[in-house]
Structures are given as structure tokens and as C-alpha cells.
């Protein structure tokens, strides 16, 4: 898919065309070291070629450690390109089920996991105050305004 026109609306993607594919980003990427299917350089290459696969799970492996951002000799900000790609993927409903699941929970109860009876018991035994059940009011509002709910 060709993201290039849409990407320009995202933060920090203005130097995309300066990428000369040197591999500094991937070479230092801690994720790539253990999950070779996540390759920042080839993600940028696919974006440049206008043929990125937004349903690729690997897009979501970035840990936002900023090593690629720091070292990129062309200040391409690879991290922000990956983030923009995941944002677009999410909007189109192409995010992996696990990611969508977390966000559904967030909208449901305002947390990324529901409060279990076990958690309630533990808090009680530690003398911690009870958690409010549903704190999702603001999230729901934001989700509506930003179109976030569409991606679910």
C-alpha cells in the first residue's frame, strides 16, 4: 500500500525521502537482533516503494527505544515512520487482534486489563483502597473525536 501522501500528515516523517538505506537503524535495533522479521530499514524501503504491508504483525514489534532515531545519519526518524505506519494500520482495522483487544478493554473499563477478583483480594489484603470500576469516560470521548473506535 502507498502511504506516502498520508504519511506527510504525521509527526516527524518529513525526512522520509532522505533515507539512503545504510542500515544503521537495523544494525543497532535491539528488536531485530532477536526478531529478525522486524527490520526498520526494510519497513522504510517498503514505504518508499509504496508497497508496505500494513497487516504485517512485525510493524508492532518496535519498543520505542530511540536508538535508530539517535543514530540515523539522515535524521529520517525511523521510529516515527514505524509509529505512523502502525497508526494508519490501526485506523484501517489492520492491527493484530491482540492490539485491538487491549484497546477494546481500554474503552470498556478505562484500563488495559479488567479488574479481576484476585486483584481486588490482593489490594484488600495490602490495605490499598478499592479501584474505581469504570474510568473510561474520557477515553470514550477521545476515541470518538479521533476516530479511534473505527480501528477496533
Amino acid at each position: 500500500m502507498d502511504l506516502r501522501p498520508e504519511l506527510m500528515d504525521y509527526y516527524g516523517t518529513e525526512n522520509l525521502l532522505d533515507c539512503y538505506q545504510c542500515g544503521t537503524c537495523t544494525g543497532g535495533c535491539p528488536v531485530h537482533r532477536y526478531l529478525p522479521e522486524y527490520n526498520v530499514r526494510t519497513i522504510i524501503k517498503d514505504i518508499l516503494d509504496g508497497e508496505i504491508d500494513l497487516s504485517d504483525r512485525a510493524l508492532w514489534y518496535c519498543t520505542t527505544c530511540y536508538v535508530c532515531y539517535e543514530r540515523c545519519p539522515q535524521k529520517v526518524k525511523p521510529l516515527y515512520l514505524v509509529q505512523a505506519a502502525t497508526n494508519i494500520a490501526f485506523k484501517q482495522g489492520l492491527a493484530p487482534e491482540s492490539i485491538r483487544e487491549i484497546n477494546r478493554t481500554l474503552l470498556k473499563c478505562g484500563r488495559n486489563s479488567e479488574i479481576t477478583s484476585m486483584a481486588k483480594k490482593q489490594r484488600n489484603s495490602l490495605g490499598l483502597p478499592e479501584l474505581k470500576e469504570d474510568v473510561s469516560k474520557d477515553y470514550k470521548k477521545i476515541a470518538e473525536l479521533t476516530g479511534f473506535s473505527k480501528g477496533l
Partner: protein, 338 residues
């Protein structure tokens, strides 16, 4: 006023001075260092054809010294300049005193300063003794002593990293143009003199135009390995016996950990200190790169009577520097005699 003031006693300034004396024009050659020859003094065999740098300098300097038309001023800097073409008045600071001299034309042959890679911390320069610059390596090969700084042993493997301080928005955006050529030349020299040494060159793009392409071909035939990558980091291995270069081979997307005994950083060229100040006192302009701006190649500036030659207007190889030194001398003669 038929006198010429040349700033910079490197190979370019020497060439310009030599040609001007051959044309019978009185010349002042000004050098702020203590020796003539500039960056070339640190080199031995130079690309592409292996000319021996010390001979190149010696032969020309000998000829200049024999001429009565040239005055060489060492450890001298230009303080200020007034006037215009045919009647410049330069104030020069020599070790003993401040001199006022008149000159018709000024040639700027101020050259370049090799890039200092200490700012690139992920390459460990200054931290690991066996990460050295290509200039240091050239010096070792010149003296016939290829050694690791850490233990004095001859390295069994050497890895070059290209584009250090060049083509990088964090340092300098321009291509220094000669690094690929000297790296390939040095790699060939290593293979010639130390055939068992494994040589690897990590590059982004190999730029070896004209005859240097033959050196590149020769290098590949000799078994020097080329991988397309800009490495991420260099770390010291156990007991500092070797260094590990971590990089992605961008042609197959594989992450590599290359163990090597010596890492050579192929450093580029930077504008010498004081270039901007000199430009403003001469009322000429600088490029975004920090080098002097050449208004009309090869040698013209905005100001009539002030010429640029060699690396003063950006990184150049020796052959081009010699050509521009001669070009500046020719344009000077045309201006003075025309």
C-alpha cells in the same frame, strides 16, 4: 602591483607558487604551520597510481626554494586585508613581527582539516585503541609498521568503515569524495604487503570514478570483502583481543557481528579552523558546508583578484588540487599581464 600572495603551503599552494615562478611572477607563499606540504605530509603511497607523497612535495619544494621569485613565510597568518584587485594590502603576522605587504592577487589554498571522529561515540574512537583513522593507517603503511596500538601486534584482520564525518546530517552533509578511493588504495597496499591479512570494507556507496575504478576491481580480485552497510556499533571483545563490528548487511538484511583486530575509520574533510572569519575579512562567501564558495569554477570568487584553489572550496583529491593550483596560477597571470 605584480605580486601574488598565496595562503596555504599545501600541495595546491606549492603548485600555484611553482607555476607562478615559472611565469616569472613574484610570489609570497604563506603557511601557518611549521612545514610545507599540508595534509600530504602524513601520506606515503597515494591513489590511484601510487605516487609517493614525500617525493611529490620534495621535488616541487626544491624547485621553489631555488627560485629567487618566491618568498616562503612559515608560521605566518593573515591578520587583515584591505584594498582591491592589483592593490591589496595584507597585514601578516610572522613569528617575529607583523608585516605589511602589497599584492595584486590573492590565492586561497587553505585546504582542509581531516575530520575528528571523537564525536561519534558509538564507533568507540578514543575509547578503543584499535579504532584508528585512515590517516593513522596511512602513516603506519608509509613507515612499513602495520601494528595494533593496544598490543603492538600485526593485525590479522582489518575493517574499514566508510563515510565517517561525511554524508551525515549530524556531522557534514557532503561527500568528501576521496575516502572511497584512498580506502580501496590502502586496502590494496595492505594485501600487497601483508597478504594474509583479511580486509573488509563496509560502505554505503562505493565512489571510485575514473581510474580508481581499476583499483576497486583489483581490490575485489584480491579477495577484499565489500559489504553494503553503515555499522551500528563497535564493541571491544573479551580481553580486548578483537573488536566486534555490529552491522546489518543491507543487501541480504542479515545482522552481522564481525570480529576484527583493527578498525579503520575512513574520515572525510572539514573546513579548516578560521575559514568563516577569513571569508568575512576577504569579503567573499562560504558554502553551507563551511568551505569557501567558488562563484565560477574552477577558481573564481565574488571578489576580483581573489582566487580559490584545491580543497579550499571543498574536498578534493591530489590530482584535482594540482590542476586547480595551476589553474589559479594561470588566471593570476592573465589578470596581471592581460
Amino acid at each position: 602591483m605584480d605580486r601574488v600572495l598565496i595562503l596555504g603551503g599545501g600541495i595546491t599552494g606549492i603548485q600555484a607558487a611553482l607555476n607562478l615562478t615559472q611565469l616569472g611572477i613574484e610570489t609570497f607563499l604563506v603557511e601557518r604551520g611549521i612545514e610545507l606540504g599540508g595534509n600530504l605530509r602524513m601520506l606515503g603511497s597515494t591513489f590511484p597510481e601510487g605516487r609517493w607523497a614525500p617525493d611529490l612535495i620534495e621535488n616541487k619544494v626544491k624547485e621553489i626554494r631555488l627560485s629567487k621569485k618566491v618568498t616562503i613565510l612559515m608560521e605566518t597568518e593573515l591578520l587583515s586585508l584591505v584594498g582591491e584587485c592589483h592593490q591589496f594590502k595584507a597585514s601578516l603576522k610572522t613569528p617575529e613581527k607583523t608585516d605589511e605587504i602589497e599584492s595584486g592577487v590573492i590565492i586561497l589554498a587553505t585546504g582542509f582539516t581531516p575530520f575528528n571522529p571523537t564525536s561519534m561515540r558509538h564507533y568507540g574512537f578514543g575509547k578503543h585503541k584499535d579504532v584508528i583513522t585512515a590517516l593513522e593507517l596511512a602513516g603506519m603503511i608509509k613507515d612499513g609498521k602495520l601494528r595494533r596500538n593496544s598490543d603492538g601486534k600485526e593485525p590479522a584482520s582489518i575493517t574499514f568503515i566508510q563515510c565517517i564525518g561525511s554524508r551525515d546530517l549530524n556531522t557534514h552533509t557532503y561527500c568528501s569524495s576521496f575516502c572511497c578511493m584512498y580506502a580501496v588504495h590502502l586496502a590494496n597496499l595492505i594485501k600487497e604487503n601483508y597478504p594474509h591479512c583479511m580486509v573488509t570494507i563496509l560502505y554505503m556507496d562505493i565512489r571510485t570514478p575514473f581510474y580508481s575504478e581499476l583499483s576497486y576491481e583489483e581490490a575485489r580480485r584480491r579477495g577484499i570483502k565489500f559489504f553494503r552497510s553503515k555499522p551500528a556499533t563497535i564493541r571491544a571483545g573479551k580481553g580486548n583481543e578483537h573488536l566486534t563490528v555490529q552491522y546489518e548487511d543491507t543487501l541480504d538484511g542479515e545482522l552481522q557481528f564481525l570480529n576484527t583486530e583493527l578498525v579503520v575509520l575512513s574520515i572525510g574533510a572539514t573546513p579548516p579552523e578560521g575559514t568563516k572569519a577569513l571569508a568575512s575579512s576577504l569579503k567573499i562567501e562560504c558554502e553551507e558546508s563551511g568551505f569557501f564558495k567558488c562563484e565560477k569554477p574552477p577558481v573564481f570568487t565574488k571578489v576580483k583578484g581573489i582566487f580559490l584553489a584545491g580543497a579550499a572550496s571543498g574536498p578534493k583529491d591530489i590530482t584535482t588540487c594540482l590542476a586547480e593550483g595551476s589553474a589559479a596560477a594561470a588566471q593570476t597571470a592573465i589578470l596581471l599581464k592581460g
